[in-house]
Amino acid sequence: MTLLDQPAGPSASVWPPNAHGPRRDPAPLLPDPEPFRLLDTPAADKLDPELLRDLYRRLVLGRRYNQQATTLTKQGRLAVYPASTGQEACQVAAALVLREDDWLFPSYRDTLAVVSRGVRPVEALTLLRGNAHHGWDPKAHRTAPLSTPLATQAPHAVGLAHAARLRGDDVVALALVGDGGTSEGDFHEALNFAGVLGAPVVFLVQNNGYAISVPLSKQSAAPTLAHKAVGYGISGRLVDGNDAAAMHTVLTEAVEHARSGRGPVLVEAVTYRLEAHTNADDATRYRTPDEVDAWQERDPLAVLERHLRAHDLIDDAGVAAAAEAAEELAAEMRAEFHSEPELDPLSLFTHVYAEPTPQLREQADLLAAELAAEADAR
């Protein structure tokens, strides 16, 4: 089943005319029983080699980004970093399938998706560096701030997508949520609103198996998380999140589905968080090295590289070029984080309101006086 096959009209009913209907056929909403895959399947032969090479270069970049950011935490340049290592195919595809005027709603782990949209790493990582709550211009990049309160960004995406449609723009919003985030009430309310409004929004759940230490089996008893879609009358898709080609295909279809007015889509990408929750976490407390090793085998980067090599779509020079570009990114990151950020304590009081209240003006004066006294004392 592809997304293009849409539910038919209401089924016949013995019911009196009422407000309950029309009832829909659930079949087209249900995901395939197994995650959609392309690499290492016969269908892969039809894929555009240039797309695959592009995805490869981006995954290499993404992996290096994750490594460099992790290193920055060790050097005290970042307060904390939740790596998306192992989830790069999801991150990269999420950014790649969007048009420039589409909107991305990332969760706190999704800085790589933000960087893949063109935001500079130092801006994407501002929150985690600790000098400000947020870095980039959300409107310029059509990318909402990282959302730390889980799933709360999902209703924002619905509202924005609906507003865009009201204003006549064929803009799509893509919201990123974790497997843990699907348990939150906001996830439910967002999907329900999206279904009712028919809003052009795509929800991508990166099911990486854990919410910090809590495995999916303690998070949900659903057949798959994609099955949640049917309860909202929206289409569900299940995809191998470590297969960059499958991710790109499914998300492209989902975005097209939403853009063309056929309603929202819930995509579950089955993937794995190869690193700990953040640098502050100790993952050995809740998972075995064997499990991690097995998933290393399905590392999205390795899977794609194997495919490219097996099909002679890349040579050593291509691999080296990708690695070189990644090193450039890493060097840029090191340079950008080398110096201490500039800080203005009085910025605490700007932007609480458009105009500071009289109360805030008084408080700013107090702080200014303290700073002046401190400076005098020095």
Partner: protein, 337 residues
């Protein structure tokens, strides 16, 4: 419930309206003037809201601009955030005070903080209308006074009108604000009636002295304003000439007006329905004392709802600050010094 659709009120013309009609008119005028203004919430469309404040708006502006949403308050406020990010000015109705609680995470972690988090790049011009307070015989969860939660949350403006004219003017100002406003509508004043002359939109944040007086100053807002005015009338017979200040805005707070009004009399009582402990009256008493200490002949006293869950209808009159309780407090202001 009768209709709240107001006689078409041309700006500048004087009309006799209820508070409900004034709010309805404000919404209509704002929607007429600005196509980005839209109303959303439970039952606001076809029904016109359970208090009929949105009556007629769906008919005039269509279902898209007066949107009946699913029954989920976090979803309502959360999607309003997204709409505001895309340049709309949503006016959200949350049906009753206690039914705003499911939206608190969106309110506290996003609505209140978005401008600040993004250094001014994502302002959220959202108005959140909440019918609040008691005195209408509502069953539990229908009479909470939750303004203290909002007032303690930086990033929100917290307004509450007490007169029909303010119902119109302050709601217009709230919708015009580029910052989120929690707009608290005193339920029991919905049916109060007055002549008003809709004028230009005033900036928010100013208190108003509703009654001049020389003996002591009552500081109040929203549903307690009429009670305080009545108390001031009664007090006259007992020889007290009470000033009454209508705060109108809890955030920002109008220290200037309040401080002057208290200094003028040297005695003050804060009156509100909300639970006293940690209520708005605590802040008001504390800041008035900080600013007027040597002008005060007595501590600033508070007459508030008790520190209990809002009582059932048949007992609510014992909970609500009434004229007698206010006058008892005035009597305790150490007159015999």
């Amino acid at each position: 419930m009768s209709t709240a659709t107001a006689p078409a009120a041309a700006s500048g013309a004087t009309t006799s309206l209820t508070m409900a009609q004034a709010l309805n008119t404000a919404l209509r005028d704002a929607m007429r003037e600005d196509p980005t203004v839209l109303v959303m919430g439970e039952d606001v469309g076809t029904l016109g809201g359970v208090f009929r404040i949105t009556d007629g708006l769906a008919a005039e502006f269509g279902a898209d601009r007066c949107l009946d949403t699913p029954l989920a308050e976090a979803g309502i406020l959360g999607s309003a955030v997204g709409m505001a990010m895309y340049g709309l000015r949503p006016v959200v109705e949350l049906q009753f005070d206690a039914f705003a609680y499911p939206a608190f995470e969106q309110l506290l972690s996003h609505v209140a903080k978005m401008r600040n988090r993004t250094a001014g790049r994502l302002p959220l011009p959202i108005t959140i209308r909440i019918p609040y307070g008691g005195g209408i015989g509502g069953v539990e969860h229908h009479s909470d006074s939750s303004e203290a939660y909002y007032a303690h949350t930086p990033g929100l403006h917290v307004l509450t009108p007490a007169t029909v004219a303010d119902g119109y003017g302050m709601l217009r100002a709230a919708i015009a604000s580029d910052d989120p406003v929690v707009f608290l509508e005193p339920k029991r004043l919905y049916w109060s009636k007055d002549e008003i002359t809709p004028g230009p939109v005033e900036p928010i944040g100013r208190a108003v002295v509703r009654r001049q007086g020389t003996s002591a100053t009552l500081l109040t807002y929203g549903p307690s304003l009429p009670v305080c005015l009545e108390a001031a009338e009664v007090a006259r017979a007992e020889g007290w000439d009470l000033a009454v200040v209508d705060l109108r805005s809890l955030t920002p707070f109008d220290d200037e007006t309040v401080t002057a009004a208290v200094r003028a009399t040297g005695r003050a009582v804060v009156v509100h329905e909300a639970t006293g402990f940690g209520g708005p009256g605590a802040e008001i008493a504390a800041r008035v004392t900080e600013r007027c200490f040597h002008h005060l002949a007595a501590p600033v006293l508070r007459v508030t709802g008790f520190d209990i869950p809002y009582p059932p209808p048949m007992l609510e009159r014992h909970h609500l600050p009434g004229v007698d309780r206010i006058l008892d407090a005035v009597a305790r202001l150490q007159w015999e010094q």
